[in-house]
Protein backbone atom coordinates (compact mmCIF):
# COMPACT_ATOMS: atom_id res chain seq x y z
CA UNK A 1 0.00 0.00 0.00
CA UNK A 2 1.39 3.34 -0.99
CA UNK A 3 2.24 5.59 1.90
CA UNK A 4 0.71 8.52 0.11
CA UNK A 5 -2.79 7.05 0.33
CA UNK A 6 -3.89 8.14 3.77
CA UNK A 7 -6.40 10.50 5.30
CA UNK A 8 -6.94 11.79 8.80
CA UNK A 9 -9.97 10.54 10.72
CA UNK A 10 -10.35 12.19 14.14
CA UNK A 11 -6.57 12.64 14.50
CA UNK A 12 -5.87 9.08 13.37
CA UNK A 13 -4.11 8.34 10.09
CA UNK A 14 -6.17 5.92 8.00
CA UNK A 15 -4.62 4.15 4.98
CA UNK A 16 -6.78 3.33 1.98
CA UNK A 17 -6.55 1.70 -1.41
CA UNK A 18 -7.81 3.83 -4.30
CA UNK A 19 -11.50 3.22 -4.91
CA UNK A 20 -12.34 2.63 -1.27
CA UNK A 21 -14.91 4.84 0.37
CA UNK A 22 -14.13 6.69 3.58
CA UNK A 23 -16.37 4.14 5.35
CA UNK A 24 -14.59 1.13 3.86
CA UNK A 25 -11.17 2.50 4.71
CA UNK A 26 -12.21 3.33 8.26
CA UNK A 27 -13.77 -0.09 8.83
CA UNK A 28 -10.71 -1.80 7.31
CA UNK A 29 -8.57 0.10 9.80
CA UNK A 30 -10.81 -1.05 12.63
CA UNK A 31 -12.53 2.30 13.16
CA UNK A 32 -16.30 2.01 13.42
CA UNK A 33 -18.55 4.59 11.77
CA UNK A 34 -22.24 4.16 12.66
CA UNK A 35 -24.41 3.04 9.75
CA UNK A 36 -27.67 1.25 8.92
CA UNK A 37 -28.09 1.16 5.13
CA UNK A 38 -24.45 0.31 4.44
CA UNK A 39 -23.64 -3.39 4.06
CA UNK A 40 -20.19 -4.64 3.10
CA UNK A 41 -21.59 -6.87 0.34
CA UNK A 42 -23.62 -4.18 -1.39
CA UNK A 43 -23.03 -0.96 -3.22
CA UNK A 44 -23.42 2.03 -0.91
CA UNK A 45 -26.82 3.59 -0.72
CA UNK A 46 -26.25 6.77 1.29
CA UNK A 47 -29.82 7.06 2.52
CA UNK A 48 -29.74 6.53 6.29
CA UNK A 49 -27.24 9.37 6.79
CA UNK A 50 -26.01 7.87 10.05
CA UNK A 51 -22.49 7.60 8.63
CA UNK A 52 -22.40 11.33 8.01
CA UNK A 53 -18.98 12.78 8.80
CA UNK A 54 -17.41 16.13 8.13
CA UNK A 55 -14.88 16.00 5.33
CA UNK A 56 -12.68 19.08 5.18
CA UNK A 57 -15.40 20.84 7.16
CA UNK A 58 -18.35 19.80 4.98
CA UNK A 59 -20.91 17.12 5.91
CA UNK A 60 -20.87 14.03 3.68
CA UNK A 61 -21.93 10.41 3.92
CA UNK A 62 -18.79 8.37 4.47
CA UNK A 63 -20.24 5.32 2.67
CA UNK A 64 -20.57 7.17 -0.63
CA UNK A 65 -17.53 9.45 -0.51
CA UNK A 66 -14.37 8.03 -2.07
CA UNK A 67 -11.36 8.33 0.17
CA UNK A 68 -8.78 10.82 -1.03
CA UNK A 69 -5.28 11.55 0.14
CA UNK A 70 -5.00 14.26 2.76
CA UNK A 71 -8.70 14.44 3.61
CA UNK A 72 -9.49 15.61 7.10
CA UNK A 73 -12.47 13.66 8.39
CA UNK A 74 -14.34 14.31 11.64
CA UNK A 75 -16.57 11.52 12.91
CA UNK A 76 -16.48 11.08 16.66
CA UNK A 77 -17.18 14.70 17.60
CA UNK A 78 -19.93 15.98 19.91
CA UNK A 79 -21.59 17.82 17.01
CA UNK A 80 -21.74 14.79 14.71
CA UNK A 81 -22.67 12.36 17.48
CA UNK A 82 -25.54 14.68 18.38
CA UNK A 83 -26.77 14.68 14.78
CA UNK A 84 -26.56 10.87 14.63
CA UNK A 85 -28.50 10.65 17.88
CA UNK A 86 -31.21 12.83 16.34
CA UNK A 87 -31.35 10.61 13.25
CA UNK A 88 -31.84 7.51 15.41
CA UNK A 89 -34.54 9.32 17.38
CA UNK A 90 -36.36 10.27 14.18
CA UNK A 91 -36.28 6.64 13.06
CA UNK A 92 -37.58 5.52 16.46
CA UNK A 93 -40.62 7.82 16.34
CA UNK A 94 -41.36 7.22 12.65
CA UNK A 95 -42.01 3.49 13.04
CA UNK A 96 -43.29 1.29 15.84
CA UNK A 97 -40.17 0.14 17.64
CA UNK A 98 -41.17 -1.83 20.72
CA UNK A 99 -38.02 -3.73 21.61
CA UNK A 100 -39.49 -5.84 24.46
CA UNK A 101 -41.77 -7.63 22.02
CA UNK A 102 -39.40 -7.82 19.05
CA UNK A 103 -37.61 -11.04 18.16
CA UNK A 104 -34.74 -9.06 16.67
CA UNK A 105 -33.93 -7.44 20.02
CA UNK A 106 -30.27 -8.04 20.80
CA UNK A 107 -29.54 -8.55 17.10
CA UNK A 108 -30.94 -5.24 15.82
CA UNK A 109 -28.54 -2.65 14.46
CA UNK A 110 -30.90 0.24 15.12
CA UNK A 111 -31.14 -0.80 18.77
CA UNK A 112 -27.39 -1.38 19.00
CA UNK A 113 -26.72 2.07 17.55
CA UNK A 114 -29.16 3.58 20.04
CA UNK A 115 -27.12 2.00 22.82
CA UNK A 116 -23.84 3.02 21.19
CA UNK A 117 -24.92 6.64 20.86
CA UNK A 118 -26.58 6.77 24.28
CA UNK A 119 -30.09 7.42 22.97
CA UNK A 120 -32.19 7.41 26.14
CA UNK A 121 -35.39 8.84 24.67
CA UNK A 122 -37.14 9.11 21.30
CA UNK A 123 -37.43 12.79 22.25
CA UNK A 124 -39.95 13.70 19.52
CA UNK A 125 -43.66 12.96 19.48
CA UNK A 126 -44.24 9.37 18.43
CA UNK A 127 -46.16 8.88 15.18
CA UNK A 128 -47.44 5.34 15.92
CA UNK A 129 -48.14 4.58 12.25
CA UNK A 130 -50.61 1.84 11.35
CA UNK A 131 -48.69 -0.83 9.49
CA UNK A 132 -50.33 -4.29 9.34
CA UNK A 133 -47.97 -7.27 9.31
CA UNK A 134 -47.84 -9.82 6.50
CA UNK A 135 -47.89 -13.34 7.93
CA UNK A 136 -48.98 -14.99 4.67
CA UNK A 137 -45.68 -16.70 3.86
CA UNK A 138 -45.23 -20.15 5.43
CA UNK A 139 -41.66 -19.47 6.60
CA UNK A 140 -41.31 -15.72 6.94
CA UNK A 141 -43.11 -12.98 8.83
CA UNK A 142 -42.97 -9.41 7.55
CA UNK A 143 -43.41 -6.83 10.31
CA UNK A 144 -43.46 -3.50 8.50
CA UNK A 145 -43.74 -1.60 11.81
CA UNK A 146 -39.97 -1.66 12.12
CA UNK A 147 -38.95 -0.81 8.56
CA UNK A 148 -36.38 2.00 8.29
CA UNK A 149 -36.36 2.08 4.46
CA UNK A 150 -32.68 1.12 4.12
CA UNK A 151 -33.56 -0.85 0.97
CA UNK A 152 -31.13 -3.65 1.82
CA UNK A 153 -33.82 -6.29 1.20
CA UNK A 154 -34.65 -4.60 -2.10
CA UNK A 155 -31.01 -4.54 -3.14
CA UNK A 156 -30.45 -8.15 -2.05
CA UNK A 157 -33.57 -9.44 -3.78
CA UNK A 158 -32.78 -7.54 -6.96
CA UNK A 159 -29.00 -7.86 -7.20
CA UNK A 160 -28.35 -11.26 -5.60
CA UNK A 161 -31.56 -13.27 -5.69
CA UNK A 162 -32.76 -11.85 -9.02
CA UNK A 163 -36.32 -11.98 -7.71
CA UNK A 164 -37.40 -8.34 -7.26
CA UNK A 165 -39.60 -9.29 -4.30
CA UNK A 166 -39.46 -5.93 -2.52
CA UNK A 167 -39.85 -2.28 -3.51
CA UNK A 168 -40.58 1.09 -1.98
CA UNK A 169 -43.81 2.88 -2.71
CA UNK A 170 -45.13 6.33 -1.83
CA UNK A 171 -43.32 9.57 -1.16
CA UNK A 172 -42.04 11.41 1.90
CA UNK A 173 -43.50 10.30 5.21
CA UNK A 174 -45.82 7.94 3.29
CA UNK A 175 -42.95 6.03 1.74
CA UNK A 176 -43.15 2.38 2.70
CA UNK A 177 -41.91 -1.08 1.84
CA UNK A 178 -44.15 -3.13 -0.45
CA UNK A 179 -44.13 -6.68 -1.79
CA UNK A 180 -44.05 -7.02 -5.56
CA UNK A 181 -47.11 -9.18 -6.03
CA UNK A 182 -50.50 -8.29 -7.39
CA UNK A 183 -52.03 -9.22 -4.04
CA UNK A 184 -49.23 -7.47 -2.15
CA UNK A 185 -48.73 -10.63 -0.09
CA UNK A 186 -45.36 -12.29 0.39
CA UNK A 187 -46.97 -15.72 -0.03
CA UNK A 188 -47.72 -14.81 -3.65
CA UNK A 189 -44.05 -14.30 -4.53
CA UNK A 190 -41.24 -16.82 -5.00
CA UNK A 191 -39.51 -15.48 -1.86
CA UNK A 192 -37.66 -18.09 0.16
CA UNK A 193 -35.99 -18.14 3.55
CA UNK A 194 -32.76 -19.08 1.78
CA UNK A 195 -32.78 -15.80 -0.18
CA UNK A 196 -30.11 -13.21 0.54
CA UNK A 197 -32.95 -10.76 1.08
CA UNK A 198 -34.10 -12.81 4.06
CA UNK A 199 -30.76 -12.28 5.79
CA UNK A 200 -29.88 -8.61 5.43
CA UNK A 201 -32.56 -6.70 7.35
CA UNK A 202 -30.75 -4.62 9.99
CA UNK A 203 -33.95 -4.36 12.06
CA UNK A 204 -36.84 -6.73 12.75
CA UNK A 205 -38.91 -6.64 9.55
CA UNK A 206 -38.02 -9.94 7.85
CA UNK A 207 -38.22 -12.68 10.47
CA UNK A 208 -38.04 -16.46 10.15
CA UNK A 209 -41.13 -18.03 11.65
CA UNK A 210 -41.00 -20.44 14.60
CA UNK A 211 -37.57 -19.17 15.74
CA UNK A 212 -38.48 -16.18 17.87
CA UNK A 213 -36.53 -15.48 21.06
CA UNK A 214 -34.37 -18.57 20.51
CA UNK A 215 -31.29 -16.97 22.08
CA UNK A 216 -31.44 -15.99 25.77
CA UNK A 217 -30.55 -12.55 27.13
CA UNK A 218 -26.84 -12.20 27.59
CA UNK A 219 -26.01 -14.43 24.61
CA UNK A 220 -27.52 -12.37 21.82
CA UNK A 221 -25.34 -10.84 19.13
CA UNK A 222 -24.87 -7.37 20.56
CA UNK A 223 -25.11 -8.37 24.25
CA UNK A 224 -21.38 -8.91 24.69
CA UNK A 225 -20.08 -5.57 23.48
CA UNK A 226 -21.22 -2.33 21.82
CA UNK A 227 -21.70 -2.43 18.05
CA UNK A 228 -18.50 -0.41 17.63
CA UNK A 229 -16.58 -3.36 19.04
CA UNK A 230 -18.13 -5.55 16.33
CA UNK A 231 -16.32 -3.52 13.66
CA UNK A 232 -14.71 -6.59 12.09
CA UNK A 233 -18.12 -7.80 10.93
CA UNK A 234 -18.52 -4.77 8.72
CA UNK A 235 -15.15 -4.78 7.01
CA UNK A 236 -15.26 -4.75 3.20
CA UNK A 237 -15.60 -8.20 1.71
CA UNK A 238 -13.08 -7.46 -1.02
CA UNK A 239 -10.86 -4.61 0.13
CA UNK A 240 -10.53 -1.90 -2.44
CA UNK A 241 -13.64 -2.90 -4.32
CA UNK A 242 -17.27 -2.25 -3.80
CA UNK A 243 -18.35 -5.79 -3.18
CA UNK A 244 -21.34 -7.21 -5.00
CA UNK A 245 -21.89 -10.82 -4.10
Amino acid sequence: MSETNTFILDDQEIPFTPGQSVMQAALSAGVFIPHLCYHPEFRPHGSCKLCTVKINGRPATSCTTPAAHGMEVESNTPEILDKRRTLVQMLLVEGNHFCPSCEKSGFCKLQALGYELGVMTPRFNLLYPTRPVDASHPDVLLDFNRCILCELCIRASTEVDGKFVFALSGRGIKKHLVVNAESGRLADTNFSLADKAAQVCPVGVILPKRKGFAVPYGERHFDDAPISAHVDEFKPVMPGQEGRS
Binding site: G118, P122, L126, Y128
Partner: protein, 182 residues
Protein backbone atom coordinates in the same frame (compact mmCIF):
# COMPACT_ATOMS: atom_id res chain seq x y z
CA UNK B 1 -22.15 19.78 61.63
CA UNK B 2 -25.59 18.85 60.42
CA UNK B 3 -25.97 15.83 58.16
CA UNK B 4 -26.93 16.84 54.62
CA UNK B 5 -30.65 17.03 54.05
CA UNK B 6 -32.09 13.87 52.57
CA UNK B 7 -33.44 14.27 49.05
CA UNK B 8 -37.18 13.80 48.74
CA UNK B 9 -38.16 11.26 46.11
CA UNK B 10 -41.68 10.58 44.83
CA UNK B 11 -42.59 7.69 42.55
CA UNK B 12 -45.69 6.57 40.72
CA UNK B 13 -46.87 4.10 38.14
CA UNK B 14 -49.20 5.44 35.44
CA UNK B 15 -49.96 3.14 32.49
CA UNK B 16 -47.35 0.68 33.66
CA UNK B 17 -47.28 -2.76 35.24
CA UNK B 18 -45.27 -1.88 38.38
CA UNK B 19 -42.43 -3.92 36.89
CA UNK B 20 -40.17 -0.86 37.06
CA UNK B 21 -41.00 -0.44 40.74
CA UNK B 22 -40.18 -4.11 41.25
CA UNK B 23 -36.89 -3.47 39.50
CA UNK B 24 -36.24 -0.55 41.88
CA UNK B 25 -36.66 -3.05 44.74
CA UNK B 26 -34.20 -5.28 42.85
CA UNK B 27 -31.35 -3.07 44.01
CA UNK B 28 -31.82 -5.25 47.10
CA UNK B 29 -29.68 -4.36 50.14
CA UNK B 30 -28.49 -1.23 48.35
CA UNK B 31 -31.94 0.14 49.20
CA UNK B 32 -30.62 0.70 52.72
CA UNK B 33 -27.65 2.60 51.36
CA UNK B 34 -30.00 4.63 49.17
CA UNK B 35 -32.15 5.50 52.18
CA UNK B 36 -29.11 7.20 53.74
CA UNK B 37 -29.50 9.83 51.03
CA UNK B 38 -33.20 9.91 50.18
CA UNK B 39 -36.61 9.69 51.76
CA UNK B 40 -39.78 8.78 49.94
CA UNK B 41 -42.71 11.15 49.54
CA UNK B 42 -45.69 10.01 47.46
CA UNK B 43 -45.01 6.48 46.27
CA UNK B 44 -46.69 3.06 46.19
CA UNK B 45 -44.04 2.21 48.81
CA UNK B 46 -45.36 4.81 51.30
CA UNK B 47 -49.00 4.96 50.21
CA UNK B 48 -48.87 8.77 50.47
CA UNK B 49 -51.60 9.91 48.09
CA UNK B 50 -50.32 13.29 46.96
CA UNK B 51 -46.93 14.64 46.12
CA UNK B 52 -45.40 17.48 48.15
CA UNK B 53 -42.38 19.48 47.06
CA UNK B 54 -39.75 16.92 46.01
CA UNK B 55 -36.25 16.84 44.60
CA UNK B 56 -36.78 13.85 42.35
CA UNK B 57 -39.92 12.39 40.78
CA UNK B 58 -39.78 8.96 39.17
CA UNK B 59 -42.55 8.09 36.72
CA UNK B 60 -43.23 4.57 35.53
CA UNK B 61 -45.67 4.03 32.67
CA UNK B 62 -47.12 6.15 29.92
CA UNK B 63 -50.27 8.23 29.90
CA UNK B 64 -53.42 6.31 28.97
CA UNK B 65 -56.21 8.11 30.84
CA UNK B 66 -57.25 11.45 32.33
CA UNK B 67 -56.06 10.55 35.82
CA UNK B 68 -52.57 9.80 34.50
CA UNK B 69 -52.45 13.33 33.11
CA UNK B 70 -53.42 14.84 36.49
CA UNK B 71 -50.88 12.76 38.40
CA UNK B 72 -48.14 13.52 35.92
CA UNK B 73 -48.83 17.26 36.13
CA UNK B 74 -48.84 17.08 39.95
CA UNK B 75 -45.41 15.46 39.81
CA UNK B 76 -44.09 18.03 37.36
CA UNK B 77 -45.39 20.88 39.51
CA UNK B 78 -43.72 19.49 42.64
CA UNK B 79 -40.51 17.79 41.48
CA UNK B 80 -37.31 19.59 40.59
CA UNK B 81 -36.13 16.64 38.54
CA UNK B 82 -38.53 14.33 36.72
CA UNK B 83 -37.39 10.95 35.45
CA UNK B 84 -39.12 8.70 32.91
CA UNK B 85 -38.47 5.18 34.18
CA UNK B 86 -38.87 2.28 31.77
CA UNK B 87 -40.11 1.59 28.26
CA UNK B 88 -43.74 2.65 28.79
CA UNK B 89 -42.84 6.07 30.20
CA UNK B 90 -40.23 6.52 27.48
CA UNK B 91 -42.18 5.45 24.36
CA UNK B 92 -45.61 4.26 25.48
CA UNK B 93 -44.50 0.64 25.56
CA UNK B 94 -46.95 -2.22 25.55
CA UNK B 95 -50.09 -0.14 26.30
CA UNK B 96 -49.31 2.03 23.26
CA UNK B 97 -49.76 -0.99 21.02
CA UNK B 98 -53.46 -0.17 21.14
CA UNK B 99 -52.77 3.15 19.41
CA UNK B 100 -53.60 1.93 15.92
CA UNK B 101 -56.98 0.63 17.11
CA UNK B 102 -60.13 2.65 17.70
CA UNK B 103 -60.80 3.05 21.44
CA UNK B 104 -64.53 2.48 21.09
CA UNK B 105 -63.89 -0.74 19.15
CA UNK B 106 -61.50 -2.00 21.85
CA UNK B 107 -63.95 -1.30 24.68
CA UNK B 108 -66.78 -2.88 22.70
CA UNK B 109 -64.68 -5.95 21.96
CA UNK B 110 -63.92 -6.42 25.67
CA UNK B 111 -67.26 -5.47 27.24
CA UNK B 112 -69.92 -6.02 24.60
CA UNK B 113 -69.08 -8.49 21.85
CA UNK B 114 -66.71 -10.78 23.76
CA UNK B 115 -68.11 -14.29 24.16
CA UNK B 116 -69.15 -15.47 27.62
CA UNK B 117 -70.15 -12.08 29.05
CA UNK B 118 -73.05 -11.80 31.44
CA UNK B 119 -76.03 -10.67 29.33
CA UNK B 120 -76.49 -6.92 29.52
CA UNK B 121 -72.80 -6.18 30.21
CA UNK B 122 -71.93 -2.67 29.09
CA UNK B 123 -68.84 -0.55 28.75
CA UNK B 124 -68.13 0.71 32.32
CA UNK B 125 -69.36 4.27 32.72
CA UNK B 126 -68.84 5.18 36.36
CA UNK B 127 -67.84 8.71 37.37
CA UNK B 128 -65.15 7.16 39.60
CA UNK B 129 -63.39 5.72 36.56
CA UNK B 130 -60.92 7.98 34.73
CA UNK B 131 -61.74 8.30 31.05
CA UNK B 132 -59.30 6.52 28.75
CA UNK B 133 -57.50 8.67 26.19
CA UNK B 134 -57.84 7.90 22.50
CA UNK B 135 -54.13 7.15 22.38
CA UNK B 136 -51.45 6.21 24.89
CA UNK B 137 -48.65 8.78 25.08
CA UNK B 138 -45.12 8.69 26.43
CA UNK B 139 -44.85 11.14 29.29
CA UNK B 140 -42.50 13.56 27.50
CA UNK B 141 -45.40 14.41 25.19
CA UNK B 142 -47.34 15.80 28.18
CA UNK B 143 -44.78 17.45 30.49
CA UNK B 144 -41.11 18.28 30.30
CA UNK B 145 -38.93 15.35 31.38
CA UNK B 146 -35.39 15.82 32.64
CA UNK B 147 -34.01 12.28 32.41
CA UNK B 148 -34.96 9.05 30.69
CA UNK B 149 -34.07 5.51 31.72
CA UNK B 150 -35.35 3.01 29.15
CA UNK B 151 -35.75 -0.74 29.64
CA UNK B 152 -38.57 -3.23 30.18
CA UNK B 153 -37.82 -2.95 32.99
CA UNK B 154 -34.48 -1.21 33.48
CA UNK B 155 -32.39 -3.59 35.60
CA UNK B 156 -31.82 -2.95 39.29
CA UNK B 157 -28.17 -2.30 38.42
CA UNK B 158 -29.19 0.28 35.81
CA UNK B 159 -31.48 2.04 38.30
CA UNK B 160 -28.75 1.98 40.94
CA UNK B 161 -26.14 3.43 38.56
CA UNK B 162 -28.62 6.04 37.36
CA UNK B 163 -29.66 7.18 40.84
CA UNK B 164 -26.17 7.16 42.33
CA UNK B 165 -24.85 9.19 39.39
CA UNK B 166 -27.68 11.65 39.91
CA UNK B 167 -27.15 11.83 43.68
CA UNK B 168 -23.45 12.43 43.06
CA UNK B 169 -24.48 15.46 41.07
CA UNK B 170 -23.61 14.45 37.53
CA UNK B 171 -25.49 13.34 34.42
CA UNK B 172 -26.15 9.59 34.59
CA UNK B 173 -23.97 7.59 32.19
CA UNK B 174 -25.10 4.00 31.91
CA UNK B 175 -22.75 2.42 29.39
CA UNK B 176 -23.03 -0.89 27.61
CA UNK B 177 -25.20 -3.55 29.23
CA UNK B 178 -27.09 -1.10 31.43
CA UNK B 179 -28.76 0.91 28.67
CA UNK B 180 -31.37 -1.43 27.25
CA UNK B 181 -34.66 -0.97 25.40
CA UNK B 182 -35.97 -4.45 26.24
Amino acid sequence: MNAPRKLKVATTSLAGCFGCHMSLLDIDERLLELLEFIEFDRSPLTDIKHCGPCDIGIIEGGVCNAENVHVLREFRANCKILIALGACAVNGGLPAQRNHLDLRDILAAVYVTEEGLVPGTQIPNDLELPLPLNHVHPIHEVVNIDYFLPGCPPSGDAIWKFLTDLLAGHTPRLGHGLIRYD
